[in-house]
């Protein structure tokens, strides 16, 4: 038995290394791709230059924040999906699907369009987090009562739709001639034209949130045996729930406030990696964070490579990748749940 775990741990280490390498490659690819052709080496040397050359400005002010946000938001979505799926022991829990992202977007939209964020810039991530908190709370209330997958998903669809509709309504009613363009941004998400200000604004909250969620790994292992068993093993179930709620709320709220609601990353990534880590949530959490970063970085590169003229929205691409996967998941689960 002990040897088996050692073997699993060795495999886990290799997996972490591979994923970390993929993150680095994705990060470099994200830095290298854009409408202006600058080589990877030139971009890298530009990052550490203090001249005001065009290439330096493009590397430092446009490409770097985009790559940093891609990695951080991808990690946020991946680990949030893994933690929520582990906690509610339901493979469909994910920030995008159950309305957490959409509620966070609504919170951010309200601070922007009622002028709060122009007065106090920090109200933007705060608004996103308040929105996310409401979304997570609804999820926990519904999932915490031992309800079925169907209830969770239907409630998720209702929350997503309502939050999306309210976001569109706020934009429609605001004296804003750009409503159509911005509804698309908030519903689909994008990393285009973000700046270092967005990194400083959202980055710390995402890091704290991710760190908080990482601490629930071991308790989640115990929780996979059921709440009662976990309690007898000495797991503080309420404490775990609280850490997941606060962590996911902070990370997803801040991520959505600067990049809109990006769907499907949190759903797909844990499912792809779960078989590789032997269905152990404590191993799934860090691997999902890395996997999410990889997926979002490469999606964001693909979006830029595929774009001719107006840029393809990131959320469109992740949905294109995610929806067929989701369909397959539903077909597979049909025999288990319905």
């Amino acid at each position: 038995m002990n040897r088996l775990f050692q073997l699993a741990d060795a495999r886990f280490t290799v997996l972490l290394l591979c994923l970390s390498l993929a993150v680095v490659i994705g990060f470099l690819a994200s830095l290298s791709v854009g409408p202006v052709g600058i080589g990877t080496l030139a971009v890298l040397s530009s990052l550490f230059s203090d001249s005001s050359d065009v290439a330096v400005i493009i590397a430092q002010e446009i490409r770097l924040p985009r790559a940093l946000l891609g990695a951080a938001i991808g990690a946020t979505l991946g680990i949030s999906g893994a933690a929520m799926q582990g906690y509610v022991r339901n493979p469909l829990a994910e920030p995008g699907l159950i309305g957490v992202s959409a509620s966070a977007a609504l919170g951010a939209v309200l601070t922007i369009y009622f002028g709060l964020s122009t007065l106090y810039i920090w109200t933007l991530p705060l608004g996103g987090m308040v929105g996310a908190a409401i979304g997570v709370a609804i999820m926990v209330v519904i999932a915490g009562r031992g309800s079925s997958t169907l209830t969770l998903i239907l409630a998720g669809v209702a929350v997503s739709t309502l939050a999306g509709a309210l976001t569109s309504l706020a934009l429609n009613l605001a004296p804003n001639p750009f409503a159509a363009v911005e509804i698309i941004f908030w519903l689909l998400g994008s990393l285009a034209n973000r700046s270092m200000e967005h990194v400083w604004l959202a980055g710390p909250f995402m890091l704290i949130g991710i760190a908080l969620v990482l601490t629930v790994g071991k308790p989640l292992d115990a929780l996979s045996l059921g709440e009662d068993t976990a309690s007898t093993l000495g797991v503080n179930v309420r404490g775990v729930r609280m850490r997941i709620i606060v962590g996911v709320t902070m990370a997803v709220g801040a991520a959505t406030a600067v990049a809109g609601a990006i769907g499907f990353v949190g759903l797909v990534v844990p499912h792809l990696l779960r078989p590789l880590v032997g269905h152990r949530p404590s191993l799934l959490l860090p691997t999902s964070a890395l996997g999410g970063a990889v997926l979002l970085l490469f999606s964001d590169v693909a979006v830029r490579l595929l774009s001719f003229g107006p840029e393809l929205k990131l959320g469109v691409f992740t949905a294109l990748v995610g929806s067929p996967f989701f369909l397959w998941l539903v077909l597979k689960l049909r025999h288990q749940y319905l």
């Binding site: 854009g34 409408p35 202006v36 446009i62 009622f114 002028g115 009613l173 001639p177 700046s195 107006p310």
Partner: protein
Amino acid sequence: MFIQSTQRFLKICSSFKPKLLFAVIATAALSVAMTEIGMSDQQHTEKPKKIVSTHLCTDQLLLLLSDYDRIASLSFFSHNPSMSAMSDTAKNFPVNHGFAEEIVALDPDLILTSTFGHLSILLLKKLGYRVSIIPVASNLSDIATNIRLVAEAIGEEERGEAIAVSLTSRIDAVSLPDVTMRPLLAIYNQNGFTFGQEALITQLIETAGFRNLGAELGLGIAQHLPLELLLVHQPDALMLGDRNTSAALANELPNHPSLRRRYTDIPRIDMQSHLWICGTPFVADALDYLVEQRIRLSQ
């Protein structure tokens, strides 16, 4: 700030219901009335007495050419000072939103609109209303043509001719000091949109002795200009869009740190967009302003 916004939000919400109710009643009443009477063809020989415009650009041409007592309604954009050069005058007239029902309720003798019209125009034509569709001006000579078209439609040919001739002579009078140097101008509006080929503003910019980056990159009307391309092409002057007063993500982009860092000392041309959005005689003012900026740049 927040309270004001909330109040405005509530006001908009509360104002919605009666309008909706009115619209429903009006539709019902009008559909009955129309099937009974049948819409007769208008007499085109008489000067129209009740004119409705549903497009920002025809709004302004109508205000310039017509007696005010013949104007029944203008488009709701006409009251917006950043879009309409005649918003102050336009505020004396009721607005429409281009809905067929609103316009039918006014029972106009003539409807002026442009090619970016609504579906409602098709409906209004079908109902037998007289509709004049004035094409969007994409170059300077189109403006005089459009002035004459509107003037003819409303029976004010003499006024139209006078305004068209004076506009043409103002445009022809533009003279440039030095045509060997043609500075590169980049338009960068909210959400990163620029104007290129076939846009009226491009001809204005070129007539004033600049080159337009959007046109040189082969972009069309209102297309997205990637921030990186804007930085790489190093324009000699930037024309940023009117700062919109309402909060929106759109205003973030022209303030991106990369622009601030690169172009701290680049000349910025703050042209009021209401002067050039539409092909009206006000483009002559826009042209004068651009020539002034061009001369300032060469000094």
